[in-house]
Symmetry: C3
Subunit: 138 residues, 3 copies
């Protein structure tokens, strides 16, 4: 069994952002030399997500509006802010969008359906944060 | 390390639907001959889910009503529809229900608690769509 | 390839609860002797979650209040209750918080960012319930 590990770093220019990281993960897969296995991609921070959806900017605006409705930004509303933070909403948004994805590796490729792309979802951005790529297989 | 791959195809008669696919995944596991490992089951489409919950029809009606409340179908409401689509709600519903499950394989069986069943969740149905089953182990 | 399996049992004193189970999973990893691989941690019950977030009690109160708003406890509201259950809300809350996490294993450690901790999330507690830890690797 082979294993491969890499950290990807991001610093988004806005507080909330969605970035297509599929090419970065494909580069990791090539570097790994793994042909059959599983690829884990997870946010290493708890106010960010990794998820699979469509690379369509209108949909990303819909995600932003929807997440703001379900888990609104608010200075007053969250008990978490008694610690001095102001990102309670980002912890909630991340739960809806998820921490991680697992992608099958088949014949040296990410085994995806026609529209599947991997996204980094940032909910408390404008700072450096990391994503972990771990691949195991043969 | 062994690996196994299969696509399962579904075409639900309604726009939203939940289908117990546990027997299909069990068949895959038998075919794979894998005794110890991990089984990934993921929707290959971005308006569908794979998740684990209870095989109880009343609960599935509750899921439908609840998802419709959190992410309502609407022709006008979503920017995604400027591309000609009408399934913005389905992309959101899928985020709540999730893309994938990973099930442990122990002694050649899906290692489940008493009520765990795997479901295909469809949010933009009445067309052919796929689920990927990938198993790695020994 | 090595594989390791353990069940962790919990019985929370309240209906809803969040418990940091990172030390339990770390003990499993030491027992397994696995240095490189993937660790699956999943609820074996369908009204509970395993998720990664922050070990901060104010945030946990925010989670409780938020989940109660998105998927309120109600005796009347859920069709699932025609089976005699009263935990329809717990099935919905679990979908938002997720069933499972996969954690990379690197050099014999859980490969975590600075604030990542694994939680058992209980939504229908005050009874004995299980979490599965399955580790594969080398």
């Amino acid at each position: 069994m082979k294993s491969y590990r890499k950290e990807l770093w991001f610093n988004t220019p806005t507080r909330m952002a969605f970035k297509n990281i599929t090419p970065d993960v494909e580069n990791c897969l090539v570097e790994s030399g793994i042909q059959e296995g599983l690829c884990l991609v997870n946010a290493m921070h708890i106010t960010a997500s990794v998820f699979v959806n469509d690379d369509e900017s209108g949909l990303h605006r819909d995600f932003e509006k929807w997440l703001e409705r379900l888990a609104p930004y608010s200075v007053e509303q969250y008990q978490h802010h008694q610690t001095g933070e102001d990102n309670g909403d980002a912890h909630l948004k991340r739960q809806i969008m998820g921490r991680e994805v697992i992608v099958a590796i088949t014949k040296g490729k990410l085994d995806f359906g026609p529209w599947e792309k991997i996204f980094y979802g940032e909910f408390d951005g404008m700072r450096k944060k990391r994503v972990l790529v771990k691949i195991i297989g043969e």
